[in-house]
């Protein structure tokens, strides 16, 4: 596969009209699009499979961890999904029906996720589910969704290697997040050598594998690769190893509590990231994580993702304003939060395109769905259920926000099974 973005294909162009209806959501206060009345879509016609759809309501599920260690990360996603649902309802809902949600707590426990997924699908007959955050929770619910033919919108950037007919992946798969960033750092910063570092689990390992292949393809060098157990808090040894290897770039995919320890110790060890010697590039620190790390400890680092809160476009400015209105001024919005926000909107667009809530029809309608009003800008759904989206590089500032220093010119094609990177 190539890392240069591709133009949308013909087939997708054809479906643009239907999506514009969904996409105008954020401008709702300005003008209301063609109002879809429930009467035009009799329940018997739009719901042939016994989902929880009535004449004026449709029920969906929200499935994230409210308790346990993962609640830290998943709270933002829940907030974003609720905001999107509220906005959709304010516009009149979907096919004239208000969205009602049932929220379940996955409790950071994977069987609980599977249980609750099953409850949502079997007992509550929800029309779709916004949910999951970690790969482990997604892997746990996946068989449930496939068995009971549910439909999941999954928000997190993740390692790829998956393409389920019952999931729409609204975050980036690994190549989308990694390749453009590496190209950028090689071209504009002249980086020649990389030190790969990560927490020890599947996402950092898979991501670093792709990164290594790409670095080697570019004719550059990986001088070290290390993994530390989740929750590890002592990084002085690895910092010394980094000093010894003198890489141009530290490519860090450290997560959770380890993150805080790593950046604090890096700073205390005298590695000043603003000097960019070495430069630090991460794909795991969103604005959310910086709140725990402290802006002063990470200033000068670069992050590669598709969304930053500071993105300067009308969609995003409206989104950030609405988000803060609903959840308070203190809140920060990270990449995953934005991706979670896309879920309900993408589903709405797909349902309206299909003219039905039936899962099979929504699935068939999904590829080619476009959103022009996404906070991150224009996105669309690929045949492989991932999103075409831009990749951006942000530069961490003292106040905990990123300044966008680079974005790909075109949308990057999602490629969950990248040939040549496995």
């Amino acid at each position: 596969m190539s890392d240069t973005p591709k133009k949308p294909n013909k087939q997708m162009e054809a479906s643009r009209r239907s999506v514009l209806m969904g996409g105008t959501a954020l401008a709702a206060s300005l003008f209301v699009p063609k109002f879809l009345r429930a009467a035009d879509y009799p329940t018997a016609a739009v719901n042939t499979t016994g989902l929880a759809v009535t004449d004026d309501e449709v029920t969906i599920g929200i499935l994230h961890s409210i308790t346990g260690t993962m609640s830290i990360s998943e709270t933002g996603s829940v907030q974003a999904e609720k905001l999107a649902i509220e906005q959709i309802n304010a516009q009149g809902g979907i096919l004239g029906r208000k969205i009602k949600y049932i929220q379940e707590d996955g409790a950071s426990d994977w069987p609980t996720f599977a249980e609750k997924a099953k409850k949502l699908l079997v007992n509550d007959k929800v029309a779709s589910v916004m949910g999951c955050w970690t790969s482990a929770s997604r892997k746990a619910v996946l068989p449930v969704f496939e068995q009971y033919n549910g439909f999941l919108y999954y928000p997190t950037f993740y390692e790829g290697l998956e393409q389920s007919p019952n999931v729409i992946y609204t975050g980036q798969e690994a190549t989308q997040q990694i390749i453009a960033g590496l190209n950028w750092v090689a071209e504009t910063k002249g980086a020649k050598s990389f030190y790969l570092l990560g927490s020890d689990y599947i996402w950092p390992r898979t991501s670093n594998k792709i990164a290594r292949k790409h670095i080697e393809k570019l004719g550059l060098k990986v001088v070290g690769e290390e993994y530390y157990p989740l929750g590890h808090t002592q990084f002085n040894s690895v910092i010394n190893k980094i000093r010894l290897k003198k890489p141009d770039v530290i490519y860090a995919i450290v997560v959770g509590g380890s993150n805080v320890a790593f950046y604090k110790q890096l700073k205390a060890a005298g590695i000043d990231m603003t000097k960019e010697k070495p430069l630090l590039l991460t794909i795991s620190v969103t604005e959310d994580e910086i709140r725990g790390i402290g802006g002063e400890n990470i200033v000068g680092a670069y992050a590669c993702m598709k969304y930053f809160q500071s993105l300067d476009n009308p969609n995003n400015i409206a989104f950030v304003e609405e988000f803060k209105k609903m959840w308070g001024d203190e809140i920060v919005i990270g990449d995953v939060t934005q991706a979670a926000y896309l879920g309900p909107w993408l589903w709405k667009a797909a349902v309206e395109k299909a003219g039905s809530f039936d899962i099979d029809k929504v699935r068939a309608a999904s590829p080619g769905i476009e959103l022009t009003t996404a906070p991150e800008g224009y996105v669309k759904v690929h045949e492989n259920h991932h999103l075409w989206s831009k990749t951006r590089v942000g530069h961490a500032k003292l106040d905990g926000q990123y300044e966008v220093v680079f974005e790909t010119a075109e949308l990057v094609e999602p490629d969950p099974f990248p040939k040549g990177y496995q």
Binding site: I66, T67, E104, D105, A107, D109, W110, P111, T112, A114, E115, K118, K119, V122, N123, S135, A136, K139, A140, L142, P143, Q147, E159, L161, D200, Y201, I202, R205, T206, K209, Y227, P229, L230, F417, Q422
Partner: protein, 381 residues
């Protein structure tokens, strides 16, 4: 009076067993839909661990904070078999190397490692479910009990072992599936374990195995070995000077506990459809101890109720009051330790049994007279 002739079951025990059987085999299956029944099936897999802990901890005084290790090993052995079956070349044709488990493919492992090979065989896998954890427990037991490590030290070392195993499983993701675990298990010898019918059948198999374990545990407890365990817990030196090699008994009961936990783990994998390191580590291991403590650390039947109750409370409370759940669970730990050291079984014995006794005063009186001479009568047959 026939019942009294059985030296392994007193009347109260029999009533307890019968009530539990009624609950598990009649009331739950009749009263619950398949989804809820499957949930209870999952809770019951923890009961296996709790029964093992009653033997080790309640009777033997050995507190293991690493039962998750055995639960996990049993579960992983089962999962490896199921995963191999689910990874037929047809089912995995999109992989770069079809015919191997998906996570191996993602980690550039092109062929199934040698130690996975035997798990193609169901017989081997079923044997391994029990044997591997037992061998592991045996090694730990020999190393620790021969050197007379006990009490707190044993608890902390088993806890460290649970931590080590978790890090290892997560770190070796090419061979173990890493933090995601071994997922997407489908069939057992061609039989789809994900259908509703299969779940009901698995529930009953699980219940049957649970009763098998209960019977074994009861026999251990009521044999002289059970009394030696209690004697050992209270006066280890005296047992030694009565001519027993105390370490052997500890090793035995620790291995038995490991075997029970492993069966639970394997049934967990079958019913839930995957296995992951989050059931191996420190937190699940300590939770398993609380199941046992809530049920009553001296009562094997209590342990089953404990596992059911705590898990049910966990599901219900975490649905209704997610904020309060941890407070509730924490409070439960403290309450059980401070106020009800013998858990549900103790409450039953102290408050419920006397009332029942009042109602059936005369009948119980007769029974007591009989049981008083139980040993002699038992010997007479």
């Amino acid at each position: 009076m026939f019942l009294n002739k059985n030296r392994f079951f007193s009347n109260t025990d029999l009533i307890g067993f019968a009530l539990l059987a009624l609950l598990i085999f009649v009331m739950l299956p009749v009263g619950l839909d398949v989804f809820r029944l499957n949930l209870f099936g999952k809770y019951l897999t923890y009961a296996f661990v709790a029964i093992g802990l009653v033997l080790c901890w309640g009777a033997g005084g050995i507190l293991s904070l690493g039962q998750g290790v055995f639960f996990g090993l049993g579960g992983y052995c089962m999962a490896m078999f199921l995963k191999l079956e689910a990874s037929s070349p047809e089912a995995t044709k999109i992989q770069s190397t079809p015919g191997i488990p998906d996570f191996m493919d993602w980690n550039q492992i092109a062929e199934i490692p040698f130690w996975w090979q035997p798990f193609h065989s169901l017989t081997f896998s079923l044997v391994a479910v029990i044997i591997i954890p037992v061998i592991f427990a045996f090694i730990i037991g020999v190393a620790m009990f021969r050197r007379r490590v006990g009490g707190v030290y044993f608890a902390i070392i088993t806890q460290a072992i649970a931590a080590i195993l978790t890090i290892l499983i997560i770190g070796q993701q090419g061979y173990t599936g890493g933090v995601n675990g071994i997922t997407d298990l489908r069939t057992l010898k061609g039989w789809d374990i994900r259908t509703d019918d299969a779940k009901v059948i698995l529930y009953f198999v699980n219940g049957g195995l649970l009763f098998a374990c209960l019977f074994i545990a009861q026999i251990i407890r009521k044999s002289k070995l059970g009394r030696i365990l209690i004697a050992m817990r209270d006066q280890e030196d005296r047992v030694r000077f009565s001519g027993y090699d105390v370490a052997n008994f500890k090793i035995f009961v620790f291995c038995a506990g490991a075997a029970f936990a492993a069966v639970g783990g394997a049934m967990f994998t079958l019913q839930v459809g995957f296995m992951s390191p989050s059931f191996v580590g420190i937190v699940p291991s300590i939770e398993m101890v609380i199941f046992c403590a809530v049920g009553g650390r001296l009562s094997i039947i209590g342990a089953v109720y404990g596992a059911l109750l705590v898990n049910l409370a966990k599901t219900t409370f975490s649905e209704l009051f997610p904020e309060l759940w941890l407070l509730g669970l924490g409070g439960l730990f403290i309450a059980v330790v401070l106020a009800f050291p013998n858990g549900l079984a103790g409450i039953y014995k102290d408050y419920v049994e006397p009332r029942i006794a009042l109602i059936f005063k005369r009948k119980m009186h007769i029974d007591e007279d009989v049981s008083k001479y139980d040993p002699l009568e038992a010997a007479a047959d």
